[in-house]
Amino acid sequence: MPGKVKLHYCDGRGRMEAIRWLLAAAGVEFEEIFLETAEDLDKLRNDGRLMFQQVPMVEIDGMELVQTRAILNYIASKHNLGKDLKERALIDMYVEGMMDLNEIIIMLLTYPPEEQVNQLALLKEKTTNRYFPAFEKVLKSHGQDYLVGNRLSRADVHLVELIYNVEEFDPGLTANFPLLKALKTRISNLPTVKKFLQPGSQRKPHEDMKTMDKARKIFRF
């Protein structure tokens, strides 16, 4: 009898949020054990549960998985959110680009305020000039409802998460991307995703300085 999936992280989005989205979209229930203090992190480390002394860590199928991409790859493969070799190559290409963009968001509040302004400008520029055009073009090229293989894959889930994330900074960023907007609506209406978007779900709110201060204490940076 398989145990429940357990997520170990702090109570914020950070690097765990993409994992929460994917599990939710796949309809997999999970528990969360939140790090509240630096000592909580120390304990996980001292107990030898973190391969590289880092979180995210996810207990799943008798393993203690670390490394965001390893975790995401496992979940996606297990729940059939990315199929044959060539399709997976396309999915991986798209997802890696999304993660590059999302990285700017994840790191944003770690910078001093003056630099945050620059990073925000960079985020907007890359969104509208590099990444959204690429994904809009993909959707336009095949005219299908999903990015790859005419079926839901992790690429769609990660993209919709990304769209929500950038719109939190500036709702106008999707203005010129009608196909992305349509994808966002479509994916948001899938039962599992719809549920995750409701208040009270395990989705975490937009990162603020309060969560960042707490993260600084836990991770000692």
């Binding site: 991986d92 680009g97 690429a134």
Partner: protein
């Protein structure tokens, strides 16, 4: 009739080197189209084959693949270097992701500001010897097998060898007493061939090639971040 994969990059290691290693270890012959100047790079961008206007890019099986990890995963899976089942894949992923964190630090080290160099090197070596290498040591010791995962050669072993050699270039004695694994992996024929002079393996950056890289990709500032949790590349 399969065409050879064609690698598009500059004439150096950078992010393409892991891909060269994996192809070589799999015994796959490949061609390289290496640009030397900013203008040549821009020409490649104009050509429209770079999904995000970035390299590495590998032309293979009628795809223009970009994003290092996407390329590596494709090659690993295609040439049966990705484990036999999902769990093995997960272990391989964990191992290679950890190695990437370390190899990124080493890769960006030459771009440190001069006054930071010594501190950064110490940081890299500390991480290598206390956080990363012990993990792989332990894995090999615990199961007593010759390879990291599933008792057969995988992407994880190839990546580990590459990163050990990179670390040794930083400090030759960094791996005192860990020679058995290296000796074993180095003797695999395809890998051995890649380690010979004249192979497509690239040398580490020197003063001249650092300048070339800076010009092509327009790196303008010291990029080695204090906490090393991520590298932000601007190009």
């Amino acid at each position: 009739m399969a065409e050879k994969p064609k690698l598009h990059y500059f004439n150096g290691r950078g992010r393409m080197e892991s891909i060269r290693w994996l192809l070589a270890a799999a015994g796959v012959e490949f061609e390289e189209k290496l640009f030397e100047t900013r203008e040549e790079f821009e020409k490649l961008i104009q050509g429209g084959t770079l999904l995000y206007e970035q390299v590495p890019m590998v032309e293979t099986d009628r795809m223009n693949l970009v994003e290092t990890r996407a390329i590596l995963r494709y090659i690993a899976a295609k040439y049966d270097l990705y484990g036999r089942n999902l769990k093995q894949q997960a272990w391989i992923d964990m191992y290679v992701e950890g190695l990437k964190d370390l190899s990124d630090m080493i890769m960006f080290f030459p771009l440190s500001l001069p006054e930071e160099k010594e501190m950064n090197l110490e940081h890299i070596l500390a991480r290598a010897t206390t956080r990363f290498f012990p993990v792989y040591e332990k894995a090999l010791r615990d199961h007593g097998q010759d390879f990291l995962v599933g008792n057969r050669l995988s992407w994880a072993d190839i990546q580990l060898l590459e990163v050990i050699l990179m670390a040794e270039e930083c400090k030759p004695s960094v791996l005192a007493g860990r020679n058995e694994f290296m000796a074993r992996i180095s003797h695999i024929p395809t890998i051995n061939k890649f380690l010979q002079l004249g192979s497509q393996r690239k040398p580490p950056l020197d003063e001249e090639s650092i300048e070339t890289v800076k010009n092509i990709f327009k790196f303008e500032r010291g990029m080695f971040l204090k906490n090393m949790s991520t590298i932000v590349a601007e190009y």
